[in-house]
Symmetry: C2
Subunit: 194 residues, 2 copies
């Protein structure tokens, strides 16, 4: 078991040795090559991912065009609850933008674990709250900010993405065309030279 996950859990609540072994038996580490699609539109997801290395992208295909809605990297959870929870087919895709190492958990086994170890149930609830709060913050940021501010915030908060992700995907995530993003970047470069 990777230490990162245990540290991540321990921040919320201390773990007993028995709980650590139980987590170890339930989640498994997997490596995926860049380009691997983990979830397709129409599939039902029963897995949750904890990213150890690499970047996973969430996107939709709308009228033949990709619309990127999220990037998940270091120690972030990827949970497609709309399809896990109500068992309905996913409407989005999950794809590895880079080579990735992730811990994979199965939702059914997770439930067994949370029932047997209430402490892990508590950790799971807190994590769910964190993920929800992050999502709310993202919606807010998208609602409040202009594309320029969104771009600047992304540069500040996740500079690693810019080395690893193609421009057009970043543009899509910010909600502009690749051409608009190019203009935004030029404007910023000109400003910084003045």
């Amino acid at each position: 078991m990777d230490d990162k996950l245990l540290k991540h859990f321990s921040k919320i609540h201390a773990l007993t040795d028995e709980e650590i072994s139980a987590i170890d038996e339930t989640m498994s580490s997997k490596q995926y090559k860049k380009g691997t699609v983990l979830l397709k539109e129409g599939q039902t997801s029963t897995e949750a991912y904890f990213v150890l290395e690499g970047v996973i992208r969430q996107y939709y295909i709308i009228d033949g065009e990709e619309k990127t809605t999220d990037f998940f990297s270091d120690e972030q959870w990827v949970v497609s609850l709309n399809s896990i929870h109500v068992n309905s087919p996913s409407t989005h895709y999950l794809e590895c933008c880079t080579d990735c190492i992730v811990l994979v958990g199965n939702s059914e086994k997770g439930e067994e674990l949370f029932t047997k170890y209430p402490n892990l149930g508590l950790i799971s609830r807190k994590l769910m709250e964190n993920v929800f709060a992050e999502q709310q913050a993202k919606i807010e940021a998208f609602t409040i900010n202009t594309p320029l501010i969104r771009y600047q915030n992304l540069l500040k908060s996740r500079p690693d993405l810019f080395q690893r992700i193609p421009q057009y995907q970043i543009a899509s995530y910010i909600g502009v065309t690749a051409e608009s993003l190019s203009r935004i970047r030029k404007r910023l470069v000109t400003k910084s030279k003045k």
Copy 2:
């Protein structure tokens, strides 16, 4: 205690008499007049609401203009986790669009309850998952659909809102100006007459 909440909880897991009394002692029913602001930008929220009657609107004020991002009505949870969870000031407002009856819970008391009664912790985790899944579905719908489709879906899924909410707030929620919404409506009326 209102029966609606107990039924809502029981759908997830059966409740013991002791758990019912504990919930009863923790959540209280409150009535608010139309126009009451439950949460303001800059305030830190420590309350969660379960709507029994009426509609609560979530909105931001951006450059002096309101941007409506959600309507909560019958048996929906209103959780401003970004401010509850990280204890940071809220960036949005919550306002009663109509006279409202809601059950109010305090986040700190909630935590005590979930620790004492693991079963209620489980219910809370499942509810959190539901709320998260609903939010994911909303983001999806907003990403995928045109304003016209969003309007038609809202008409189908929440027809009650149209009697109770001013046009300009519905327009803002759909992501168009009031004038655009007016054009969408006219187009639909003309189509249905053909």
